[in-house]
Symmetry: D2
Subunit: 272 residues, 4 copies
């Protein structure tokens, strides 16, 4: 039922793909002033400093929405930024990304990507939150100083201008809560969270509103670089669902009683 993509090869360069819907930068002058070539290019510049990584970008307007199998199946860690065009992403693409994550690809979901199809599918929850766009101060506190995603960061990161994202955030309890944000307007937010789904690692990182130069911030770039490093595929894809015939059992057993399935594991036709 699941297609297993080419196996990851830890010996080669880590293959990183930055996906951006790339809408606001082309239609909103305020955003274009900050990210003239798209925010994916600023991120690519930051991640590209790692010489042992191979960094590409992909955008919604490209063929196959930027992620044809030839790209997605050779991606080890995918970054995702979307806001205005979540609905434009095809269901089939969301399905392919989800499968790739379950098979081991790392996924970094940025800012308004909380509302993307792929994040909602992997979480299974609403992924909703409260928000306010007032250019207010955000202070991102490190909750787990020992976590590799927090490496090289002090006690907190300050953003003088940011969009407020507030609780309750409709996510499953994170496996690790790395960052919690404080906002001048009075809210808090679990802005740095990790989960494992299948063999894939997922990190959600909330800072990154497009009207502020947040992805130019060195410490934000450091966190995202750390996160890519952390999210790299670790083991192997989980097994596909499989039937274990009686004669293949590891302990000798004899089949007893009636059965719904034939010897190949298919449901008998009379039941359908």
């Amino acid at each position: 039922m699941f297609r297993i993509p080419p196996l990851f090869n830890g010996m080669t360069r880590l293959r990183v793909t930055i996906w951006n819907e790339f809408v606001h930068e082309r239609h909103n002058p305020a955003v274009a002033a900050i990210y003239p070539q798209g925010l994916h290019c600023v991120l690519a510049g930051a991640l590209g400093k790692r010489e042992d990584w191979s960094v590409r970008t992909a955008t919604l307007d490209q063929p196959a929405q930027g992620l044809p199998p030839a790209v997605l199946d050779t991606t080890d860690v995918l970054l995702w930024w979307g806001h205005a065009a979540h609905d434009a992403v095809e269901d089939d693409l969301a399905t392919r990304i989800q499968q790739r994550v379950l098979n081991g690809m790392g996924l970094i979901v940025l800012h308004s990507g909380h509302w993307s199809k792929v994040f909602k599918r992997l979480m299974g929850t609403s992924c909703g939150l409260c928000w306010r766009e007032a250019g207010e101060r955000e202070r991102i506190w490190i909750i787990e100083p020992g976590h590799p995603i927090a490496k090289g960061i002090g006690n907190c990161i300050e953003l003088e201008h940011s969009e407020m994202y507030g609780e309750p955030f409709g996510i499953p309890t994170p496996e690790f809560l790395i960052f919690v944000s404080w906002f001048a307007g009075g809210e808090v937010f679990r802005g740095g969270c990790t989960w494992t789904r299948g063999s894939g690692r997922i990190f959600y990182f909330s800072p990154g509103h497009e009207t502020y130069p947040i992805y130019h911030h060195p410490e934000i770039q450091q966190v995202i670089t750390n996160a890519v490093d952390w999210a790299r595929p670790q083991g192997r894809p989980a097994e596909v669902p499989r039937h274990v015939p009686v004669e293949a059992a590891r302990e000798k057993i004899v089949a007893r009683g009636s059965s719904m399935h034939d010897s190949s594991g298919e449901l008998r036709k009379s039941d359908d």
Copy 2:
């Protein structure tokens, strides 16, 4: 974006609905011999002993696949058994159930329900597993003797005849692992797991293959009864996503910088 159903009322009887696809019992004589009126009726008999509960059943062949809004929106805890007809369940029904769980309804997923649309959606993972139908012995060990779902159960439950479900089981790490099964053929399985999604509690319980009288077993009935009790709605639905205008901020702040949204929180048209 989310419709909030009528609020749960802790003062009234707990409203329990047992959903069964009800396919095998009508087409397979071996199954019919064990569950002549459907396995949902045996479960209803067991749960019906709780006088403070109101127990209904629902099946796939009923109007609206057994769960029209009038039923689903008055259900506090839903039990789900499916096997042959997972694909027949409409996407819209799966969506409505998922929303109801996020808003606080408890969900008990039984046996082959691991492969149902609603369970896969709430987990976000493959939900795949290994399996073998050989009527072999299963021994269900209690991992968390202090958990309410294990109340009244000894060190383990023995089923002389069962279907093997084996690891790896494609689920997110459970919040609590209550039961782990041992199989005569040599496998193990995380057969009793809990998760919280939104405001809803979810319990997956693996025993229950239709060719063995597992739901007649008093201790299995005890576990399922405990699980319904545990899964009852606890708090209130999480907030829907919402915009907090600057003037509604709890700390006085002044809007600064450019904005992607108008004062009502809608994305400006020029961005679409």
Copy 3:
């Protein structure tokens, strides 16, 4: 090795004991003005409204530091407040409380109790935090609206005057993070956390500094009442460590190879 206390009896009234070191209230006029008879008495008044509960108080200056076996072993949920006298609590008492929690007693640790012997032992971590006493505003946000401990509470609780507790908080990742606090001075804190240890449920709740009337606040009282309800013993104590002789194995096996132990499970003397 472990002494099993009298089993909890769900049929009777829940037995709640509020322990307070009761130091500041007798030596500091500012504290005495807020809690003339000790903060335990204010909490007892709040919890005492539940007619199905039996509420007692205990203080450090009483015989056996307020918790002789006759009291502790008949306590279903224990609340703990300490600050100046953590070191005065005897190791043996901390051991007895830890054992009682592992066997199923609920434990609510309040405010500066984060630094108590019993909390540190149950967590295994530093339990350290940052702090500042400036009477600043604290806003306690609800992270999990569906959790029973948040029942009846709105989006947040505001305390006009509070002591700041800040991250990083040296605790194991909580099973559920119910509340996160915002402070006017710029910090955040995971102020409402749950864990399970053995068969016991633990809730840490940070508000409660003794120079502000926080335990008089109706919503704070509501949270603590909810927490006691939630922490009540659920199942049974976990098994003590035990030897399973070969002839008692549930599957027939024959002993093979050499052994470090004699037939009763004791290490052979020649090894000591």
Copy 4:
């Protein structure tokens, strides 16, 4: 309150120390036949194949019980095997190891080390289990194929002769459950578990009874090698508890109300 050891330096070789109580190998001929120089030496041989690691051994009979500060404070990952002499380990040593873990050292606890002082302290629970020494077959199933500790291992590892460890195992819910064991006598066991405590990573791995040549098994050696790699220090030690004076608050605030502490953060004497 906490002493911060020399900071870990990711640029140098990983410093691994294998601690063994080294009792049975010198007094029991059956054990000596399998591990003539002690099981720590077999493990050192296996881990020593990693040329980028620096591997040492330490035993109970050495000065400072093998772990003087000069050794412990230069250890990045510590392996621990004990059985007969848990009580002989000094409390102070257990305290120093616990602190070192909280500050970032990895800890691999092997087999009967579940009952060691240091493991019990870090878990906060009983750490008890059921057991039987019958040389029975154990099959260790991989639960998380994507986890780095399972790298290079197939679906399961089979040990023809092993000691049974059975549930319930008195541990906090592991963050990740990597392995679950099946035993011929009918039990199951969570034999491969991870936790984070402070900035340190902990892995418990149950196989390793001293009367069977389990640490000679290539796949067992692979798992332990993987675990050391995984447990290496990741970030930085968490902050020590610290007072944040009002004038150092990141947002401008003015101290209000009465205070329990003087300006340096010490409790006022009048309160003691």
